[in-house]
């Protein structure tokens, strides 16, 4: 199953939790979008489908 995480295709990602773990160990200040829509943390364990695009975002310096 192919999942895109932050623009990179990855293997072995079954859930959003997996996707987050793949790019960061941080838990605070993290938000996730699945195919453009925000996914509340309570739903991070629901299974992903092939071709899903996951964005794992956090705070960076900005004006």
């Amino acid at each position: 199953m192919k999942i895109e995480v932050n623009g990179e295709a990855r293997e072995g990602i079954a859930t959003i939790t997996d996707a987050v773990a793949a790019v960061t160990t941080a838990r605070r200040g993290i938000a996730v979008a699945l195919n453009g829509e925000v996914v509340p943390r309570s739903e991070w364990d629901r299974p992903l489908a092939d071709g899903d695009a996951v964005e794992v975002l956090t705070a960076t310096q900005g004006g």
Binding site: V32, V38, T60
Partner: protein
């Protein structure tokens, strides 16, 4: 009397900045963009006396050293996420929702850009996004042009403040159109925050003198040769401008008005 003097000489004492449900003593909002590193940023935040700093939302960087949120927490200031980089209302709305999820705040600095060279806001997309976010319960602080009509429409849409630019982001050109800025301040019923384009202390003071309730700046401080010192300059400039506004300046005159009376001149 010294007590009185203190009160008099601290204009923020009797006039805190209120936006939506929050109250701030400082009238300077600092953007974190452009700082060379976290240490320098922390020093600038401290020197500025700000209580609110903006951040952007971006993909997590596995290689990032240290957390911006830790810096902000250590400085004891609040965080205001922005939607910088969005070109459509839809993108901005999604970004705002992600920020709410990530930071647990429904405050959002709404940016919807219409041009990548000037980073000037798109009036139509901006207003559209503002209406959507207000309806969704956000406290919306829109970065807008200095168009008094657009500012009015954003206020009518339920924005908690309006944030007209002094000049394009990062240009340091100062208040390009004081007349528009004054018109916005005269007509607004929400706080007016001068956002973007400030270059130096006198620019920030002028914005406050024109009637702004606060100033938001990033580049002017973070990219100055000495960010902490410029942060202190901006802190003082904002209170100076605010105090000057409240103190009631003298009228401008074409001819002189003697400060030393001619009365009693000796015949020498």
């Amino acid at each position: 009397m010294p007590q009185h003097a203190t009160a008099r000489t601290d204009p923020t004492r009797d006039a805190d900045l209120k936006i939506a449900d929050k109250t701030f003593t400082s009238r300077l909002i600092l953007g974190t963009g452009g700082a060379a590193n976290h240490a320098q940023l922390a020093e600038a935040i401290t020197a500025s006396g700000t209580e609110l700093v903006t951040v952007a939302l971006r993909r997590v960087d596995p290689g990032a050293s240290g957390s911006l949120l830790d810096v902000i927490e250590r400085c004891g200031v609040e965080l205001l996420p922005n939607t910088a980089g969005c070109f459509t209302a839809e993108q901005a709305v999604r970004t705002a929702k992600l920020a709410r999820e990530a930071f647990g705040t429904n405050w959002i600095k709404l940016e919807v850009i219409g041009d990548e060279d000037t980073l000037l806001p798109d009036p139509v997309e901006l207003l559209d996004a503002a209406e959507t976010l207000v309806a969704d319960g956000f406290t919306v602080l829109p970065y807008t042009s200095d168009d008094p009509v657009l500012a009015r429409r954003l206020e009518d849409a339920g924005c908690a403040a309006v944030m007209p630019l002094a000049a394009p982001i990062g240009t340091g050109l100062g208040v390009r159109n004081p007349h528009n800025m004054a018109l916005i301040c005269e007509n607004a019923n929400v706080p007016v925050v001068c956002d973007a384009g400030i270059g130096t202390a006198s620019d920030a003071a002028l914005a406050m003198e024109l009637g702004c309730s606060a100033v938001l700046l990033a580049t002017a401080v973070t990219r100055a040769a000495d960010p902490a010192l410029m942060a202190a300059a901006m802190r003082d400039a904002v209170s100076a401008g605010r105090a000057a506004r409240l103190a009631g300046r003298i009228p401008k005159r074409h001819l002189a008005n003697a400060s030393s009376s001619f009365e009693g001149m000796a015949d020498l």
